[in-house]
């Protein structure tokens, strides 16, 4: 009888602990192949600015969050089929994507740039100068849209992720690579990117770059979107953003100044 009572009590305690822990739980998707925003560290865990930002965001909206890695190709279909609830993966807010998903307000500003080998001497980028050159970009990215629209006569190669793209840029398998400005600046500073340099003016054409990087949600989750936007504004206003920013960057990525 005594043991029976004990099990009963233990069961009750378990129930209680379950109910207190039942705060809203959300799954966040990221690519984990886009340093320094999201990448896999040497210990095999996902890290980066997006992860820090996403976790801070969850704290503000009072949710238990877990990051999952998802290939870029499938990241929007995954959101639509409810594999996760938010995409925090430095996704540019663009018109074509808005047809599929809803976006939060931008949480940082983006631009694109060309990266070339240091000895190439390339500074001019047009369909004429790119003719016959091998240009790399990531599948399904705004950069891919850009190269396909602007350099139809170039030899375009689309890679599954930025990591493989970087690998082949430093191997010299591609002549020009299109990347986001901030990771590109980061890349050429690394040993792997020592081969290469950022060339030409940054590309800021909103038709391709969009309004900046935003958090993607399903279109029907309007209440969640409001809460996310409020939290982004708070993080920016109370100085937390600067703290996260300075951990990774030397310039303020919210304004690109």
């Amino acid at each position: 009888m005594k043991t029976y009572l004990k099990t009963l009590l233990r069961g009750a305690a378990l129930c209680a602990s379950l109910s207190t822990a039942s705060a809203e739980s959300l799954k966040l998707a990221t690519e984990a192949a886009y340093p320094p925003f999201n990448y896999v560290g040497t210990d095999g865990k996902i890290e980066g600015f997006d992860i820090d930002f996403g976790m801070e965001l969850c704290k503000r909206i009072g949710a238990d969050c877990e990051f999952v890695a998802q290939d870029w190709d499938g990241i929007i279909p995954g959101l639509l089929t409810k594999k996760y609830d938010l995409i925090v993966a430095s996704m540019n807010i663009t018109e074509p994507r808005k047809k599929q998903v809803a976006f939060s307000d931008p949480y940082y500003k983006t631009a694109m740039t060309h990266i070339v080998a240091k000895d190439s001497g390339m500074t001019e980028f047009s369909n004429e100068t790119m003719k016959g050159k091998v240009i790399g970009a990531q599948t399904g990215s705004t950069q891919a849209e850009y190269v396909q629209a602007k350099y139809p006569d170039a030899d375009i190669r689309l890679y599954p992720s930025q990591v493989e793209l970087n690998l082949d840029m430093s191997n010299g398998r591609i002549d020009v690579m299109l990347g986001d400005l901030l990771p590109s600046i980061d890349f050429v500073k690394t040993e792997e990117g020592a081969c290469c340099e950022v060339a030409g003016p940054p590309i800021v054409d909103p038709a391709f770059v969009g309004e900046g990087a935003g958090i993607a949600l399903r279109q029907e989750d309007t209440a969640l979107r409001e809460r996310v936007n409020k939290a982004i504004a708070e993080i920016r206003a109370d100085g937390t953003f600067k703290k996260l920013n300075d951990k990774y960057f030397t310039i303020d990525i919210y304004t690109l100044q």
Binding site: D73, I76, P77, P96, Q100, G136, T139, G140, R157, L158, Y159, P160, E164, L167, D168, S170, N171, G172, R173
Partner: protein
């Protein structure tokens, strides 16, 4: 799902991708026609050391995924870029198409060689001895006795390998080659239109059906002397 609309909107790119798939497969198949007999003969005749190495090679290729081999050659080659440049091979290995063909040839010949070896070993000893008795050189025996038999025995198995080759070529899409798979994936990611996969599937099935048909026709021709119904030479009506 609007099948016709999807086809009308995307047929040039699908056609492009199909051409690339065929180019990959046919190139790899033609090269394998030269390499497979050499490997098969090596497997039959090579001494202990060379034979052991060949067995190791075949076992490695057959024991590892095609995708892993492709990544090993494509991304792995970058680790040895100075070496390849020194030997003047970087220009070749730099092209993803070449890497894909190289890996497909390695892959398919390892399987084909085993099938052809089975065919060679199935050639009746008496026939080889008869050829020796009439004074044929080894080359003549190979060309006139062993290979015609071996190829006929191995033919259905080789046909299966061709189909596997077509299917394997779809992996080229993960190393930036826009084959049929790569094109369809690109269109799908742009439009989320599932119909494009159905068209891709239909085209792949058409390609395999053509191979099956072609193989069957050649098989009938290879075995024409085996059919009692076929007219004897000189007995034309």
């Amino acid at each position: 799902m609007d099948l016709i609309g999807t086809l009308l909107a995307n047929w040039p790119r699908l056609l492009d991708g199909t051409a690339m798939t065929l180019k990959l497969t046919v190139t790899a198949a033609l090269i394998s026609v030269v390499i497979t007999p050499l490997l098969a003969l090596g497997r039959v005749h090579a001494g202990p050391v060379a034979g052991g190495l060949l067995r190791l090679y075949v076992s490695f290729v057959r024991g590892t995924p095609l995708l892993a081999q492709l990544f090993l050659v494509f991304y792995g080659s970058g680790q040895f870029r100075p070496f390849f440049q020194e030997w003047g091979l970087w220009g070749f290995i730099r092209e993803p198409f070449n890497c894909c063909v190289l890996v497909l040839v390695m892959y398919t010949t390892a399987y084909q060689a085993e099938i052809l070896r089975g065919g060679i070993q199935a050639v009746p000893r008496g026939e080889v001895e008869a050829a020796q008795a009439v004074g044929m050189t080894y080359r003549q025996i190979l060309r006139r006795v062993i290979f015609p038999h071996a190829v006929r025995f191995a033919w259905p198995g080789l046909g299966n390998e061709m189909i596997i080759l077509v299917k394997g070529s779809a992996l080229a899409s993960v190393v930036t080659v826009f084959d049929l798979m790569g094109r369809s994936r690109q269109i799908f990611l742009h439009s989320f239109d599932f119909a494009i996969y159905i068209w891709a599937a239909a085209i792949y099935l058409m390609i395999t059906a053509c191979i099956v048909l072609l193989w069957r026709l050649i098989e009938l021709r290879l075995a024409r002397h085996m059919h009692p119904s076929s007219p004897l030479p000189g007995a034309s009506p």
